[in-house]
C-alpha cells in the first residue's frame, strides 16, 4: 500500500503564487477528483508534483511513501511511480510510440541490463488490445498529427505500460467527444485497483459519470475549499462554482 501526501503545498510561476497551501493524501486504491473553476491552480498542482521545471515550490512538501520527492528531477519522480497524464501532450516528431515506450521501459532497468524486446512487444500488444488500440498506432510518431482522442488514448496506453503507483490526470476529458471519453474512462477503470491511486483533475462533472471517484475536492484560489464524496460533484454541477465562491465569501467575511 502506497501513499502520496501533499502537505501545505505552495507553488509559484515566476513570482506569482498559484497553489497556496494545499493539503491532500491519496492512498493506493483511491480515486480522488479535484474540481474547480479555470485558473484556480489545478493544472499547476499536477505539473508541480510531476516536477515541471517552470514551477517553483515555495513551501510545503510532497511525499511518496513517506519520502519527499521535491528534490528529484521529473524522470526520477516518474521512475518512483508518479505518472502525469497531460492535458496537452507534446508532439514528438520522428520518435515512434514503440521506441518511446521502449526508452521509458529501458530507463527503469538497471545499468547494463537490456530490455527483452519480444517480451516488451508482447506486453505492449496485450495492453493495446485491452485498450482497443490498433497495432498500427505503435509506428506513428508520438502524438504527431493525433486527434484529441488519440492523444488521450496514447496517454492511457503509456500509463498502462508504465504501471505507476499514482496517476495525476490533468483535464483528461478536455477536447473529447463522448465516445472518446468513454474509451479513455474504460481504460482508467480497467487499471483501477488496489495498486493504483488516481488524482483526476477536471473542470466538468461529466468525466465523473464514467470514472466514479471515491472523494471529490473543490479547489478554489490555490486551495482545497471543500471535500466530500461523489455527491459533491453533482451538487456542483447543479449549483455551479458561484455557490462555492459565495459560501467561501460568507465564511471569511
Amino acid at each position: 500500500m502506497s501513499s502520496l501526501v501533499i502537505h501545505d503545498l505552495h507553488v509559484s510561476i515566476g513570482e506569482k503564487p498559484i497553489v497556496k497551501g494545499l493539503t491532500l493524501t491519496i492512498n493506493s486504491g483511491e480515486v480522488h477528483a479535484i474540481m474547480g473553476p479555470n485558473g484556480t491552480g489545478k493544472s499547476t498542482l499536477s505539473k508541480a508534483i510531476a516536477g515541471h521545471p517552470d514551477y517553483t515550490i515555495t513551501g510545503g512538501d510532497v511525499l511518496l511513501d513517506g519520502v519527499s520527492i521535491l528534490s528529484q528531477e521529473a524522470d526520477e519522480r516518474a521512475r518512483a511511480g508518479i505518472f502525469l497524464a497531460f492535458q496537452y501532450p507534446s508532439e514528438i516528431p520522428g520518435v515512434s510510440i514503440a521506441n518511446f515506450l521502449r526508452a521509458a521501459q529501458q530507463a527503469r532497468m538497471a545499468e547494463g541490463e537490456e530490455l527483452d524486446a519480444s517480451a516488451y512487444y508482447k506486453r505492449l500488444y496485450s495492453k493495446m488490445d485491452l485498450l482497443k488500440i490498433d497495432r498500427k498506432f505503435t509506428s506513428r510518431s508520438v502524438n504527431e498529427g493525433f486527434s484529441g482522442g488519440e492523444k488521450k488514448r496514447c496517454e492511457i496506453l503509456q500509463m498502462a505500460m508504465l504501471e505507476p503507483k499514482f496517476a495525476l490526470m490533468d483535464e483528461t476529458d478536455s477536447g473529447l467527444d463522448i465516445d472518446a471519453l468513454r474509451i479513455v474512462a474504460d481504460g482508467v477503470n480497467t487499471m483501477r485497483g488496489p495498486n493504483l491511486g488516481v488524482l483526476l483533475i477536471t473542470h466538468y462533472q461529466r468525466l465523473l459519470d464514467y470514472i466514479v471517484p471515491d472523494h471529490v475536492h473543490v479547489m478554489y484560489d490555490g486551495r482545497i475549499v471543500k471535500s466530500g464524496d461523489k455527491s459533491l460533484a453533482l451538487e456542483l454541477e447543479a449549483k455551479g462554482y458561484d455557490w462555492i465562491k459565495k459560501e467561501l465569501a460568507a465564511t471569511t467575511a
Binding site: 516518474a78 497531460f86 507534446s90 516528431p93 520518435v95 526508452a103 527503469r108
Partner: protein, 440 residues
C-alpha cells in the same frame, strides 16, 4: 628558433611536393591512358599555383582558415588489414580501398555482369571503358570554392570506384564502396564515379573510415554521379574519418531528362570536414534530392556548401540538411539555388535546420537564391533551435533521464531525413551509425 620560420607564408604545396607527385605518378600502372596522366600533371600545376583559401574569400565565409594545412601528411603505404566496418546491409557488389589501393572486392553476380553492369576500379575502367570514364570523370569544374583541393584530388587520385549500369538495368541491392585511411598521417584521395544509363536504377553506399580517432589524416575526395534519361541513382555517403582528420569532399551530380538522384551524406568524422555538393538539373523533368545529416561534437567543424543549378524547365531540387551540434561544435551551411533564364516551372527547395544541444555550439547559415526565370517556385530557409523544454519534460515525465531524452529528440529530429530513404535496411543501418556516435 629562426625568425623566418615564424614569418614565412604557408607553403602552397605542403607535404604534396613535386617530388611526392613524381613518386605518385611513378607508382601508377603504365597502362593508364596518356590523356589521364596529362590531366593529372595539369591538375598538379594548378594545385601548386593556387593559393590556400583566405579569410576574405566569400566561398569560405565563416570557415576556420588558420586550421587549414597541407603540411604533416604522407602518402601512405599499402596495408595488410582493414578495420571491420559492417555495413548492416546486403550488397550486390563491394569494393574496399585502403590508402588509395584496392584492398578486397566482392564481385557482381555473373548475371548482372552479363547484363553489362560494371563495378570495377578506376584504374581498370580507365583502360577498359576509357570513353565513358573520360566523358564523366571530374567533368564538372569546381564551383564551390575548392579549386585547389579539387586539383590536389585529381593530381593524387590513385584509384577509386567505377560503377556503370547500362540502359534498362535495375539493381535491387546497393553497391558498397569502402575507403579507408590507415596510418597516423595518411593522405587519401578517394573517388567514386557512377554512371546510370537510360532508365537504369542503382544505389551506392560509400563509407569513409579511419583506423582510429587519433590519426591526424588528410582526405581530398570526390564523386561524380551521372543519371541518364529516366535513370534513378540513390547515393549514400557515410563520412566517418578520424576525429583529427582534415577532409575535403566534393560531389558533382548531373541529372538528365526525367532522371532522379537522391543523395544523403552522413557527416560524423573529421576535425574540420568540408563538403561541397553541386546538382545540375540539366534537362526537363530532372529531380535531385540532396539530404545531409551531421552530428557535430566538440573539436569538430563541418562546412557544407551547396549549389542547385536549374538549367532546364520543369526541374526540381529539394535540399534538406540537418545538423545536431553538441559541446563547442561548429557547423556552416551555405547554399545557393540558381535558376537559369529559360528554366521556367522550376521547383526548388533548400532548408537547413540546426539543433543546438549546447549553448557553446555555433551554427552559421547562408541560404541563397539567384533566380533569372519568372515562373518558378523556390523556397529556402534556415533555422536554429534548441531542444523544446516541453518535449523534454514530456519524455522526462515518463522516466527517461534528461540526457537520454535529448538523445531521443535528436534522433527524432533526424528521422525526417532518414524517412526519405526508400530502403528500410539502409534507414536502419544509418540510424545505428548515428546512435553509435552518440553513445561514444
Amino acid at each position: 628558433m629562426s625568425a623566418t620560420t615564424l614569418t614565412a607564408p604557408p607553403s602552397l604545396v605542403g607535404s604534396f611536393t613535386p617530388e611526392a607527385f613524381a613518386a605518385h605518378l611513378a607508382s601508377l600502372p603504365p597502362t593508364l591512358p596518356a590523356w589521364w596522366i596529362a590531366r593529372k600533371r595539369a591538375a598538379y600545376a594548378r594545385f601548386a599555383a593556387l593559393p590556400l583559401p583566405s579569410r576574405t574569400d566569400e566561398l569560405w565565409r565563416f570557415s576556420s582558415i588558420g586550421t587549414l594545412t597541407l603540411d604533416g601528411f604522407t602518402l601512405p603505404a599499402a596495408v595488410t588489414s582493414v578495420p571491420h566496418a559492417p555495413s548492416g546491409i546486403p550488397q550486390a557488389a563491394k569494393l574496399v580501398f585502403a590508402n588509395g589501393r584496392l584492398f578486397s572486392r566482392q564481385p557482381l553476380s555473373a548475371e548482372l555482369s552479363a547484363r553489362g553492369v560494371i563495378v570495377d576500379t578506376l584504374q581498370n575502367a580507365l583502360v577498359q571503358h576509357e570513353t565513358l570514364v573520360r566523358e564523366h570523370l571530374l567533368a564538372q569544374p569546381p564551383k564551390l570554392g575548392s579549386p585547389k583541393f579539387a586539383a590536389l584530388h585529381e593530381a593524387f587520385l590513385a584509384d577509386g570506384a567505377f560503377i556503370s549500369v547500362p540502359r534498362d538495368v535495375q539493381l535491387d541491392l546497393p553497391i558498397g564502396i569502402f575507403a579507408y585511411a590507415l596510418g597516423a598521417t595518411a593522405a587519401v584521395f578517394p573517388h567514386t564515379l557512377v554512371v546510370a544509363g537510360e532508365n537504369a536504377r542503382v544505389s551506392v553506399v560509400e563509407y569513409f573510415g579511419s583506423g582510429d580517432d587519433t590519426e591526424a589524416q588528410f582526405a581530398a575526395g570526390a564523386n561524380d554521379l551521372y543519371a541518364g534519361h529516366g535513370a534513378q541513382i540513390a547515393y549514400i555517403g557515410k563520412q566517418s574519418w578520424s576525429r583529427r582528420a582534415l577532409s575535403f569532399q566534393s560531389n558533382s551530380t548531373v541529372v538528365r531528362r526525367d532522371a532522379r538522384v537522391q543523395s544523403l551524406n552522413l557527416h560524423l568524422g573529421g576535425r574540420q570536414a568540408r563538403h561541397e555538393s553541386l546538382s545540375q538539373l540539366a534537362a526537363p523533368g530532372a529531380f535531385s534530392e540532396m539530404l545531409a545529416l551531421t552530428v557535430a561534437e566538440t573539436g569538430q567543424e563541418f562546412d557544407q556548401r551547396t549549389l542547385q543549378i536549374h538549367q532546364a524547365p520543369n526541374t526540381k531540387s529539394d535540399l534538406l540538411y540537418k545538423n545536431a551540434l553538441r559541446g563547442t561544435a561548429k557547423t556552416i551551411f551555405s547554399g545557393l539555388i540558381v535558376v537559369d533564364p529559360d528554366a521556367q516551372k522550376t521547383d526548388a527547395y533548400q532548408s537547413n535546420r540546426n539543433l543546438m544541444l549546447s549553448d557553446d555550439a555555433e551554427a552559421c547559415s547562408l541560404p541563397g537564391l539567384e533566380i533569372q526565370a519568372n515562373d518558378v517556385r523556390c523556397t529556402h530557409g534556415a533555422t536554429s533551435s534548441r531542444i523544446d523544454p516541453e518535449q523534454e519534460f514530456y519524455l522526462q515525465s515518463r522516466g527517461i533521464a534528461k540526457e537520454a531524452a535529448d538523445e531521443l529528440l535528436t534522433f527524432g529530429f533526424f528521422e525526417e531525413v532518414l524517412n526519405r530513404l526508400v530502403n528500410d535496411d539502409l534507414h536502419e543501418a544509418l540510424r545505428t551509425l548515428i546512435q553509435t556516435k552518440f553513445k561514444q
